[in-house]
């Protein structure tokens, strides 16, 4: 049996369903508790449905990006591995490709037909095990973060809102800068998406229709990626 048959075989597909199933079950239990608490806090059924709808619409754009990004993973490591790692692994295509490449490098090979089933075991272990550290980190950090928030809210509730925004601006400013500085279609897509999203968010606020915001991320992303690629083609990039 070649490594591709194992990688796209029932064990890997089943493992993907187990991983995804456990993550989804956990998400369902969290949702159920949130729903119960929301009703006690005075939320209406309509508000809960609106929250579900807003998230379900927003996630479409990023999910399509993941689906297309999976092409690389499918070509290099088969659809079975793509499902296993994207069902509830770390999820970043870049991360998965880097860890797989390091796994292959550790046995002195490159990803592709030259791997043996034993080499594939190392590649699989290299992709699967490092995200375990993340899960330990989440378990360690979350209770502490909550008590820190409680202390800050008690002292001055305004400071938490400010802190939240600054932290998000730092995180995404850092990610975004990396792509903007590359120039080319990456810069164009980033800027177009920013401009479209800014306009649409403002229009939603002006019209006092917050529901329009559900569509902003997906619309901005899809228009930006195709427009940027088209402009880049026209200007001869």
């Amino acid at each position: 049996m070649g490594w591709e048959e194992i990688a796209n075989g029932p064990i890997i597909w089943l493992s993907g369903f187990i991983l995804g199933g456990v993550a989804s079950l956990g998400a369902f239990l969290m949702y159920r508790k949130a729903r119960e608490a929301a009703l006690k806090m005075g939320w209406s059924e309509k508000q809960i449905r609106e929250a579900v709808k807003a998230s379900a619409i927003t996630v479409i754009g990023p999910s399509l990006g993941i689906a297309v990004g999976m092409v690389a993973l499918i070509i290099v490591l088969t659809p079975g591995i793509a499902w296993l790692r994207e069902s509830a692994g770390i999820g970043s295509i870049m991360y998965e490709l880097i860890t797989a490449t390091f796994g292959a490098a550790a046995v002195g090979k490159k990803l592709g037909p030259g791997l043996t089933p034993s080499d594939f075991m190392v590649v699989l272990a290299a992709m699967s095990v490092p995200c375990v550290v993340w899960l330990f980190g989440i378990m360690a950090a979350t209770p502490g973060a909550k008590s820190l928030r409680a202390k800050m809210m008690k002292k001055d509730p305004k400071i938490w809102g400010l802190l939240a925004i600054v932290m998000m601006l730092v995180a995404f400013g850092n990610f975004w800068s990396d792509h903007l500085i590359k120039g080319g279609p990456s810069l164009l897509a980033g800027v177009i998406s920013f401009v479209i999203a800014t306009i649409l968010f403002e229009v939603a606020d002006m019209l006092k229709k917050p529901r329009l915001k559900e569509y902003v991320i997906t619309v901005a992303i899809l228009v930006a990626i195709f427009l940027a690629q088209w402009i880049w083609g026209v200007i001869g990039g």
Binding site: A23, A27, A37, W43, S55, G103, I138, T142, A189
Partner: protein, 231 residues
């Protein structure tokens, strides 16, 4: 009947957070085993033995690369994701999927992050995004080689989707910088300068946190101004 903020917080402390921490710990632990499971199953069913020397070498190389992410990511999105949402980072894709969903849902419902309503909105949003995202990923995996054919037949589509990360980050940055344009402009300028000068990821993050939080705290302490456009 709607409760006051204080009553809502008490309700969550009494009935919601203990459950969320319990489920969070149980499922994070379960997913640790689920992540290792395919390696064990492939070994047992196919009769293969893991080359531990090679595996340790690979893990060592990966750890060197990922240490900054291990240290920062478990807590850096907490402000928006809240407690349940932070645990649900267990499904991955936090920055590109979970966070925009939580932030947009809070915005659509008109609730603020860090409040009891913000916690509930983020919980519902992240849980929903996990299920929807997984269904799309499953469809893409089953489509498998059809997707590869599509990308190879229409290279324009593949090339366009190569730009998806800057587009996602641009849209998310728009959302947060609209709340505070001054800090949005300053931090992006600093980020661009640091990338231009070739600082690695973790150094940039550290410098931007020190400057961003330092300036925000100082300005607030001295002039009592958050510079927030929308509180």
């Amino acid at each position: 009947m709607s409760l006051s903020e204080r009553e809502k917080e008490q309700l969550l402390e009494r009935e919601y957070y203990p459950y969320v921490h319990k489920v969070g710990r149980i499922f994070c632990t379960a997913l640790i085993f689920c992540n290792i499971l395919p390696v064990i199953l492939v070994g047992l069913v196919c009769g293969l033995v893991l080359d531990w020397t090679a595996a340790l070498t690979a893990w060592g190389m990966i750890a060197m690369l990922l240490i900054p992410f291990y240290v920062t990511e478990p807590w850096m999105y907490y402000a928006v994701l809240g407690t349940a949402g932070n645990y649900m980072q267990w499904a991955g894709n936090t920055s590109n999927c979970r966070l925009p969903c939580a932030a947009i849902t809070q915005s659509v419902l008109g609730v603020k992050e860090g409040t009891p309503d913000g916690e509930i909105a983020a919980n519902i949003a992240v849980a929903t995004s996990i299920v929807v995202n997984m269904l799309i990923v499953l469809a893409a995996s089953i489509a498998g080689f059809g997707l590869v054919w599509l990308a190879q037949t229409y290279p324009f589509i593949k090339a366009a989707f190569d730009n998806i990360l800057p587009a996602i980050f641009g849209a998310i940055y728009a959302q947060f910088s609209l709340r505070n344009p001054a800090y949005g402009a300053i931090l992006l300028a600093i980020g661009l300068a640091l990338v231009w000068f070739g600082f690695p990821y973790w150094q940039r993050l550290l410098i931007m946190y020190v400057i961003g939080l330092g300036v925000a705290f100082s300005v607030y302490k001295k002039w009592k101004k958050t510079l927030m456009r929308k509180e």
